[in-house]
Point group: C2
Chain length 386, copies 2
C-alpha cells in the first residue's frame, strides 16, 4: 500500500464514489520496478508484457522510460504504438496468430514475431510477401518445464528444442531472419536458477544452427519474475545475477543479445484492489462449520488467478490486529465456481463484518483485463491509474 493509493481511496470514499470494487495502480511503483529491471539486467532490453495490464497511462510511462513491448494481439500492438513506442520496440509475442493479423502487424511496422512451429513460419512468410515487407525477424519458443513456478505453464507454447532447430532453419529458408530463441520459465517463478536449463538448450540451438550457417542473435528470457503475494520473493537483482551467470556458463564470452518480458514483475505490486465485504455467514451452527466471507469481487470480476487457489493474495482489513479465524472466501456472483479460497481457507479477523473494506494487495497484473464483461450483470473491474 502506497501513500498515493491510500489518499486516492480516501478521497474516493469521501466523494461517495466507492460503490463497487476498484483497482488503483500507482505509477511511481511501476517506475521503480522498471528501474530495478534495467539495473539488474543492464544489457537486456525490457519488453513489458502488455497483457499483464494495458492501461494507457501505464504504457505511456513505460514508453517514456524506454521500455519495449511484448504484445499478444493487433489491439495490443496499437496500444503500444499509441503510448509512444516505435514499431521496432514492439514484438508480436503470441505464437498463435491469424495470418491476417500478422499482415496487419507488418503494416503497422512490427518486425519481430514469435513462432513455435513451421505452420506459423509459413503464415509469416506469406504475410511478408503479401505486404512486400523486408527484414522480418522470428524467434522460436521452446518448451521449458517451469518446475517450481506458482502458476506453472502448460505445454501450450513452444516446441521441443530439436524441433526449434528445424523451425528456425525453415524460417531462414523461406526468407525470414532466424533471429533467436525464447522460453518462459513459468509465471511467478520463485527459483532464480530456473533459467539455467533453458539457456543450456538455447545455447545448443545456437550451436546447431551455426553449423548450418545460420547465426542466431537473441535469447528472449521471457517473464516469470514474481511479485510479492503472501510469501516473500527474491529481489530482481538475484534474478539478474543468476541469469547473467547462466548466460556466461552456456554462451561463454559470446553473449547473445537478450530481452526479458516482465508483466507481473512490472505491475503486480503497483496495484491494489479495494473491495467490500457483502456477507459473512455460516451454513449451520455445527462447531466444525467454517465461516464464509463474500466480497464484491471474485473469480469473474478480476481475480481469475485464484483459479485452483494458485495465487494467494495478501488481503488487508482494518481489523488485522485481532484474532483471525479460517474463512472460505467467495465472490458475489450466482456462480458456485466463484469461490476463491476454500481448500486452504483464508485467515481473516474474527470480527470482520458486512460493509468492511478489504484491500487486496499485489493486484496490478492479470486482474482488470481478466474480468468478465458483464457476468451476473456486474460491471468489469474499474481501474484508476495514479
Amino acid at each position: 500500500m502506497t501513500e498515493r493509493i491510500r489518499d486516492f481511496l480516501h478521497d474516493r470514499r469521501r466523494a461517495g464514489l466507492d460503490d463497487g470494487p476498484v483497482l488503483v495502480v500507482d505509477l511511481e511503483v511501476v517506475r521503480e520496478n522498471y528501474e530495478k529491471f534495467a539495473r539488474a539486467l543492464p544489457d537486456t532490453r525490457v519488453f513489458y508484457a502488455v497483457k499483464a495490464n494495458p492501461e494507457p497511462k501505464l504504457l505511456k510511462l513505460l514508453a517514456e522510460l524506454g521500455s519495449c513491448f511484448d504484445t499478444a494481439s493487433v489491439a495490443e500492438i496499437r496500444m503500444a504504438l499509441e503510448a509512444g513506442a516505435t514499431p521496432e520496440r514492439v514484438s508480436f509475442g503470441n505464437t498463435i496468430k491469424k495470418e491476417r493479423d500478422i499482415a496487419r502487424a507488418l503494416e503497422l511496422g512490427v518486425r519481430l514475431f514469435a513462432v513455435d512451429c513451421e505452420a506459423e513460419v509459413e503464415k509469416i512468410a506469406r504475410a511478408k510477401a503479401l505486404t512486400a515487407t523486408d527484414a522480418v525477424r522470428v524467434f522460436c519458443r521452446i518448451l521449458c518445464d517451469g518446475a517450481g513456478a506458482e502458476w506453472p505453464l502448460s505445454r501450450k507454447f513452444g516446441c521441443m528444442p530439436e524441433m526449434a532447430v528445424e523451425v528456425l532453419e525453415h524460417a531462414h529458408r523461406v526468407g525470414l531472419e532466424a533471429y533467436g530463441v525464447s522460453f518462459h520459465v513459468g509465471s511467478q517463478q520463485p527459483n532464480t536458477e530456473a533459467w539455467d536449463g533453458a539457456l543450456a538448450s538455447s545455447s545448443r540451438i545456437f550451436g546447431e544452427l551455426a553449423e548450418r550457417g545460420i547465426h542466431l542473435s537473441m535469447v528472449n528470457l521471457g517473464g516469470g519474475f514474481p511479485t510479492k503475494y503472501l510469501k516473500d520473493v527474491p529481489a530482481v537483482e538475484a534474478y539478474g545475477d543468476s541469469i547473467f551467470r547462466a548466460l556466461s556458463k552456456h554462451f561463454g564470452n559470446r553473449l547473445p543479445e537478450t530481452i526479458i518480458e516482465p508483466g507481473r514483475g512490472m505491475v503486480g505490486n503497483a496495484g491494489i484492489i479495494e473491495s467490500e465485504v457483502v456477507l459473512v455467514s455460516q451454513k449451520s451452527h455445527a462447531e466444525e462449520e467454517v465461516r464464509w466471507v463474500y466480497l464484491d469481487i471474485g473469480k469473474f470480476g478480476g481475480l481469475a488467478e485464484t483459479m485452483d487457489e494458485s495465487i494467494r493474495y495478501d488481503i488487508r482489513t482494518e481489523r488485522d490486529a485481532e484474532r483471525r479465524i479460517p474463512c472460505v472466501l467467495a465472490g458475489p456472483t450466482c456462480d458456485s465456481a466463484d469461490v476463491m479460497y476454500e481448500k486452504t481457507p483464508y485467515w481473516l479477523p474474527v470480527s470482520l463484518a458486512i460493509g468492511d473494506r478489504v484491500l487486496i494487495e499485489g493486484t496490478g497484473a492479470y486482474t482488470a483485463t481478466y474480468s468478465s464483461v458483464a457476468f451476473n450483470g456486474l460491471p468489469p473491474l474499474a481501474t484508476h491509474v495514479i
Copy 2:
C-alpha cells in the same frame, strides 16, 4: 444447428464480417424450450435465470411468452424490467446482496428475495424500513448435494435445512413474509430424480414452521435442467414427471406453489459459436506427441465452463466424415491456462487445417457474459440474436 443460424453465418461470411468468433442465438429454439417447460410443469412458474444469457431480444421474447425472471444483480433487474416484465415477475435470486442494492431493488418494485442466513434477512428488513415498502417476501435457500451434476455446485449458496427454519422464522419476526424454500440440484443435472431429497427437506421445513404458526407458500425448484452437449440428456417431460411425483410424495395433496429457474435448459441449445482454427501444430516429431489445435476462442473469450474440462461441447467441422485423431484444444491467448481439453483430448478430423471454421454447439448459455473484457487485447464474444 438450425437453418436460421446456418443462413445467418453464411450471409456473415459472404459479407466478409467473419473476423473473430461469434455467438448466434436462435429465438425460435428459445420459444420451443419455453413452451416445453410450460407444458412439462404446467403448475409451475418459470423464472428464467437471466445470468445464463441476458441479451435484450431474448429477454423480450421470454417476457412476451409470460416468463418471470430470476436476477443476480440490480443491473439484471433493470434488464428484465426493460424487456417488459412487471416487478412482480422478478425475483432477486442472489443470496449475496449489498444492502443498498436491496433498497434499489425495492425501489424498482421487486418484492421477492433469496436469503440463506439471518444477516441477509436483516439487510432486507432494514432496506424495507428505509424504503417504507410493505409485503416483502423471502425464500431461504438450502444446501443440496447436487450429486451427479456435471457442474456440481459448491457449498457456496444455501444453509443446512435446520438453519433454514431459523432464518425463515427470523424473517417472519422482523416483518418479512417467510415465503418459501429454494434449492439447486446442480447445473446440467442428468438425474431426473435429483429433486427428491431436497423436496423431502423442504417439506420438513414447511412442517416445522407450520408448527410455529408460520405458513410457507412456495418451493423454488431452482435450475439444473440440462442442455445437450456431447451426451444425450433426458427430455424436459421426464423432469416434469419426476418432480411432480416427488412433490406429491412429500407434500401429499397440499402442493405448494412452485417455480423453476432454468438458464442453461432455456438457452443452451439455442446458441452456436462459430470459431476459426488459428493454428494446428505438434511439439515434436515423437510418435506419442499429440496434435494441438488452437481456436480463436478459449477459456477467456467465452468458454469459461471448459474449466476443469467440466463441460464438453459438441464441436462440428466441415471434415467430420474423415478419420479423427485426439487433439488438445486450446484458446488464442498468451495464457498457459487457456487450454480447453487436454486431460481428455478431443477427437477432431485428421485434416483439420488453419483457417477452417468450427461450430461449437450448445453455447447459448454461460458464454458471452463470461468472456473477459479485453484479455490479451481480444474483444469479448460478439452475440447476434436472430
